[in-house]
């Protein structure tokens, strides 16, 4: 049913339909509205789940890890410094192969303290063994939760997943969102079937210590699962398309890329603005297209290589920076295109909630055309 919903509430509605049995979260701006809504649903008996109030994000994810190990479908949400506080547990969740799903309302990392949007928080956890899916709008943020659970719980994958959507820009914006019914979601997403369960009657240890003779093999297994997740995501996304009419079979999505000479590459809500800017540039005869990356982990290198085959220049819009190097997305795109001769230029944009408009996207495309890149775009030099 089509409803006008705030992004956070669209996510809460999606989570409710995924039937998590345990929710543990600590409120932090701009994630708060999601867990607030879920707490109300549990209190009003709309959702049959245990809502655990915890004193910090570290405890929130620890509770989720324990509940998941006991065989429950679990959920949490966080952002920025809250995600940083979960850092240690994030690695454990992935290493213990628990399919926890967590929403990240993307927000800048402090210091300086900033509650607005960029993607530095989730990007900083890219190496933890979690899958990371980025939503462009509230519809996609809603849909990616059903897909995330199904991919994470697939026995060929068994890895945790982050559904990332831009703080405030999406979390606090009202948009029409098509929310499927509980029955439709039940048919798409069966109950979680764990592989290993903590059970007093059949005792077992999880997350053992592994000596040098075993540790590397466990990391290898996670990497292999991550590779398998690419196909599982594509299959589940296609199945979602057949069921609900919105296709998510692509780990990447092209927009007016067919005959493009310059391709912009981006993740998340910025893609909507980029599409509008591309429409304008196309009207003026500029051959520009967009490649939207939906899955940052697993990283779709092959898909990117195929999608950008005919392009001579690639301009990556990074809402993050790996300080001392470049934007993380640009580095990975560069790796995917290594040896093809395609020039990849990086632009660090919109950090800490700095506005980015159509004219900025057009300016970036102009800079890329001239071969000027690898820089912060939109710096206020007067305050430096």
């Amino acid at each position: 049913m089509m409803e006008i919903l705030e992004g956070s509430h669209a996510v809460a509605e999606a989570v409710k339909r995924c039937r998590p049995e345990v929710i543990a979260a600590y409120p932090i701006t701009p994630q708060t509205h999601i867990v607030e809504a879920l707490a109300s649903m549990v209190a009003d008996c709309e959702l049959d789940a245990d809502y655990i109030c915890v004193e910090s994000e570290f405890s929130a994810l620890s509770a989720c890890l324990g509940a998941s190990a006991a065989g429950s479908r679990v959920y949490s949400a966080t952002t920025s410094q809250g995600l940083a506080l979960m850092f240690e547990v994030c690695f454990n969740v992935a290493g213990m192969r628990q399919p926890v799903v967590m929403t990240i309302a993307n927000r800048a990392m402090g210091a300086p303290l900033n509650i607005w949007n960029d993607q530095q928080d989730s990007i900083s956890l890219r190496d933890a063994g979690w899958m990371q899916f980025y939503a462009e709008d509230n519809q996609e943020a809603n849909d990616l939760h059903y897909i995330a659970y199904k991919v994470a719980e697939d026995h060929d994958v068994l890895l945790p997943a982050m559904v990332c959507f831009d703080g405030f820009i999406l979390t606090h914006t009202y948009e029409p969102v098509d929310i499927p019914t509980l029955e439709e979601v039940d048919a798409f997403l069966p109950p979680y079937k764990p592989v290993n369960i903590l059970d007093a009657k059949n005792p077992m240890s999880l997350g053992m210590y592994a000596t040098p003779d075993y540790y590397m093999e466990f990391r290898y297994e996670v990497e292999e699962a991550m590779k398998r997740a690419r196909k599982v995501f594509a299959d589940v996304g296609a199945e979602f398309g057949e069921t609900f009419g919105r296709d998510y079979s692509g780990l990447v999505e092209g927009y007016r890329l067919e005959d493009a000479e310059i391709a912009l590459v981006a993740m998340g809500s910025i893609c909507g603005t980029v599409k509008d800017a591309i429409d304008e540039m196309r009207e003026e005869g500029k051959k520009v297209g967009l490649l939207k990356i939906r899955s940052f982990r697993p990283f779709p290198s092959e898909e990117i290589k195929a999608a950008l085959a005919g392009v001579s220049k690639v301009a990556v819009l990074d809402k993050n920076i790996s300080l001392g190097q470049k934007g993380a997305v640009a580095l990975e795109v560069k790796d995917a295109l290594y040896g093809t001769g395609t020039e990849v230029l990086d632009y660090i944009v919109a950090l800490g909630g700095r506005d980015i408009r159509k004219r900025d996207i057009r300016a970036v495309a102009d800079l890329a055309e001239k071969g000027i890149g690898d820089q912060f775009y939109g710096l206020r030099t007067e305050v430096l």
């Binding site: 213990m96 192969r97 290993n196 040098p212 093999e217």
Partner: protein, 86 residues
Amino acid sequence: MALRVGCAAPPGRAHDNKTGSWRVFKPVFKYEKCVKCGLCEVVCPEGCVYEREDGFYVADYDYCKGCGLCVEECPVDDIEMVQEEK
């Protein structure tokens, strides 16, 4: 042994966990001055020193961590730490 998903293991597996490849030094019992006091057996935190039929003691290298406690405590310095050869 095939790895189980998520570092999962049934109970009792600690006994299967041999020291493996990471030990750098191991104790070698010389039987030159040994007075058969049995202190090495008592102090070994891994419980891997045992008495042979002839009354002398020996370490089970499958489980010895190479902590060197037996060497430190032997009253007649009859045990020596030597570097592992790999």
